[in-house]
Symmetry: C2
Amino acid sequence: MNQENPLLEAFKETEYQIPGHGKRDISVLKEALETIDGQLESDVYGNGKVIEDFQEKIAKYLGKESSVFFPSGTMAQQIALRIWCDQKSLQKVAYHPLCHLEIHEEDGLKKLHGIEPILLADKERVITLKDVVNMKEEISCLLLELPQREIGGQLPEYEELAAISNYCRDKGIKLHLDGARLFEILPFYQKTAEEICSLFDSVYVSFYKGIGGIAGAILAGPKDFTDESKVWKRRHGGDLISLYPYIISANYYFDQRVNKMEQYYEEAKELAALYNQCYCVKTVPLEPVSNMFHVYFTVPKNELEPILRELYNETGIGLTGSLREVSNSECYFEVNIGDQYTKIPSERLKKVFF
Amino acid sequence: MNQENPLLEAFKETEYQIPGHGKRDISVLKEALETIDGQLESDVYGNGKVIEDFQEKIAKYLGKESSVFFPSGTMAQQIALRIWCDQKSLQKVAYHPLCHLEIHEEDGLKKLHGIEPILLADKERVITLKDVVNMKEEISCLLLELPQREIGGQLPEYEELAAISNYCRDKGIKLHLDGARLFEILPFYQKTAEEICSLFDSVYVSFYKGIGGIAGAILAGPKDFTDESKVWKRRHGGDLISLYPYIISANYYFDQRVNKMEQYYEEAKELAALYNQCYCVKTVPLEPVSNMFHVYFTVPKNELEPILRELYNETGIGLTGSLREVSNSECYFEVNIGDQYTKIPSERLKKVFF
């Protein structure tokens, strides 16, 4: 069917797939709903037990006073930045050049909220304290993404993070965490979510990355902040009469997977080491700091694709469904370790790498 | 549990409830999912069979070139108006003073899109051709809501509607349909959805009112319009990785109920006649033009509430869970006829009204 993407088709036909939790099919929702009594009442425009209980649970987990469930992180984060900007009457923020808001949201932050972003650091590395201190312009809010997804999921050292947080507090700059993959980085830092989040004024977390839910996000922070975010949620068209399909699945898979992040992290390091043994292959980061990394090939994309397809056919193991071109001579793909990796018999995996 | 709203609690405890399709509980989603193979793949950021098939089906039903599924009507309609305003480089629209965008969206249209609305007609009646012709300011788009929900679901005559449409086309004003309850008005007009929609440049329909789905909306119009709406959908944070819980239920209940609107309409007329026989009671409209109407009581809200609670206890039949105050001496509630009305034995219903 998908003749435009033969690599994806070959990937889907493999017996085992290395990345992720499994197919994103309807059974993911069906499984979560099986645990729920049909008589449980829907949430209604942000109210009701199903949404309030989950918001309370995640606020507590993150060590924040309050939290609000959003249909998407795109919505939650634009709103977070808008609130902090309005509070300071300064429509200026700073973030990484490969921030989700800068490259994946069709400039919603600029076109809906009139907020101007300052881009910090180079595209290849994470933001440092030096970048923040050397910033010439005044800003209302600094957004840090942990891990920095578009560069393989890199992280600053914890001490650097704490220093940035201290500096921002001193300077009256709000610090917002793009924690789309927050759960995934806790094993590296050996900190609780609460400890990491205490460095930030507001936090967004996602429930369909490492957690593997259907969609949805939480925005957490002080109660006056989350109260204001509910008004903006309505303005954005995100205050749906019922969000429970996302909330129930977020809660179900959160309980299943939030304590498996250490396992995914260890497996990511093991797998990255296997990739790094291969000719013309290098992972970024060289040693992963979460469940994710990027795999770079010094091979043209159009040459690598048929090689991978043949490998999938021969071994029955899929590495990726999507290659991205870096240049005429280089390409890469992203790996996220989830429940599938551990299901692959090690002798089968060996056939791929040896 | 809900001690702040004893009327709602008494309503929920009744054996039969007059309005609606039934409880908004999780079983609504479970039932829709039972019909679906678990291996059906999720939509992914607006692509995939589950979303594309439904968009095509509804576009065809509405007689429009193309359509896009949105998580909410709030999002869909702000975006529709933004596109038409940008096209004319004039950030001005017109709508009814009780338009959803004016009273239920926390001024999202103004605060996110910088669009200024002109309010047409009085609060008590629908917009006429005369209102449009007499408008002094130039606008990009006129929004008509059919039926006008906040005044009991009133409708203009079809000829009036056609005349407004002709006038707008002549003057280069785009005409947008707030068709949250479009399916519900077709029996009154004795027209197809396609015939009604042909008068409009763009159309929004909802799937959780008369259709009774979980949430979600469709925005339909020319292909270049819907293509642009997808960009804005991403900016708003509505381009979720998976919208299928809403799409599958919208499709399931659309098929079940879209042809029952005539029945709901006849039942609404029957029920309104029963109310109008009562002392101190009047419906708006006096004869409904869809499945909905408002019931006005010349009785103070705090006096009517205990009377209704007693009636619910005595008869086992719930009329409404929510009264709204008009003045110290008047209050009203809204009725929407769905699947529940016909389940009430007529001798039981008689006990309420005679």
